[in-house]
Assembly symmetry: C2
């Protein structure tokens, strides 16, 4: 079994996607994160749902969390206005690096080792050989566990 056999499609957006639409995607599908592409098939980053939450919290509250208790609920209802006109790329942390990338021909242990070392919840799989560097899909940690567990 190789990485290509475990890779599945995953919800993805591009750095130029509308940030509000990306938030809806996370919310509606109850996703822990999205795969962000720089261009077709080019993994750029993982955008965790918690990072999207961070984008919504006003800077003055992040600096002084005690203020969160005194902001009235009407204001809280409008937090998502912070996303209007913004792109997904604007929501990524400054230090967001590319997600770990496995080659289609990597073994299950190679994928597991990569995931364990960077503590990433998912690994992108790009095609070696005839597929060039194209994105084949992702492998989540739970999918990999499923492949490693004995049957029955």
């Amino acid at each position: 079994m190789r990485a290509r056999d475990l890779a599945v499609a995953y919800e993805s957006v591009t750095v130029d996607s509308d940030a509000l639409e990306a938030a809806r995607l996370l919310a509606e599908h109850r996703l822990p994160g999205l795969l962000v592409l720089a261009g077709p098939g080019e993994p750029r980053a993982i955008l965790p749902a918690s990072q999207m939450i961070k984008t919504l919290v006003p800077a003055y509250v992040l600096e002084d969390p005690a203020l969160a208790a005194v902001v009235d609920e009407q204001h809280a209802d409008r937090l998502c206005e912070a996303l209007a006109g913004r792109r997904v790329g604007d929501c990524l942390p400054a230090d967001a690096g590319p997600p770990p990338v496995a080659d289609a021909d990597d073994t299950v242990l190679e994928v597991a080792t990569l995931m364990a070392r960077v503590r990433s919840p998912l690994v992108a799989v790009t095609g070696g050989g005839e597929a060039g560097g194209a994105l084949l899909g992702v492998i989540t940690a739970s999918r990999l566990l499923d492949a490693l567990l004995p049957r029955g």
Copy 2:
């Protein structure tokens, strides 16, 4: 809207649960992680699926990842034997702290601020007042986003 209105049940195990059963729970429900309890209603840690993967990878491979490519597949098939007889507590990283905990009466913005500051994919909610310190459930980042997004 308060934290108590958003808290939902979440798959949880205790530090004394069987590690192999916990891995099965992650795999079968395709969960990004489990809530680990120290005792009834007492949040101890979050166990990410990627950490469970890390438990399976032999120490000598983590130290020298190039070895992952040369371990044969029969060996890889037996990686889960590393979990036999182990408890969930044995799989937690040494530095695993308790998950962030919100009070049932916290506002949505307070929960969002807590989640944003610690970059946690979920927040445990324990009951204030009549419920004492009992665990009411968890709020995931995507659930919180759903609550914050404008309707329609």
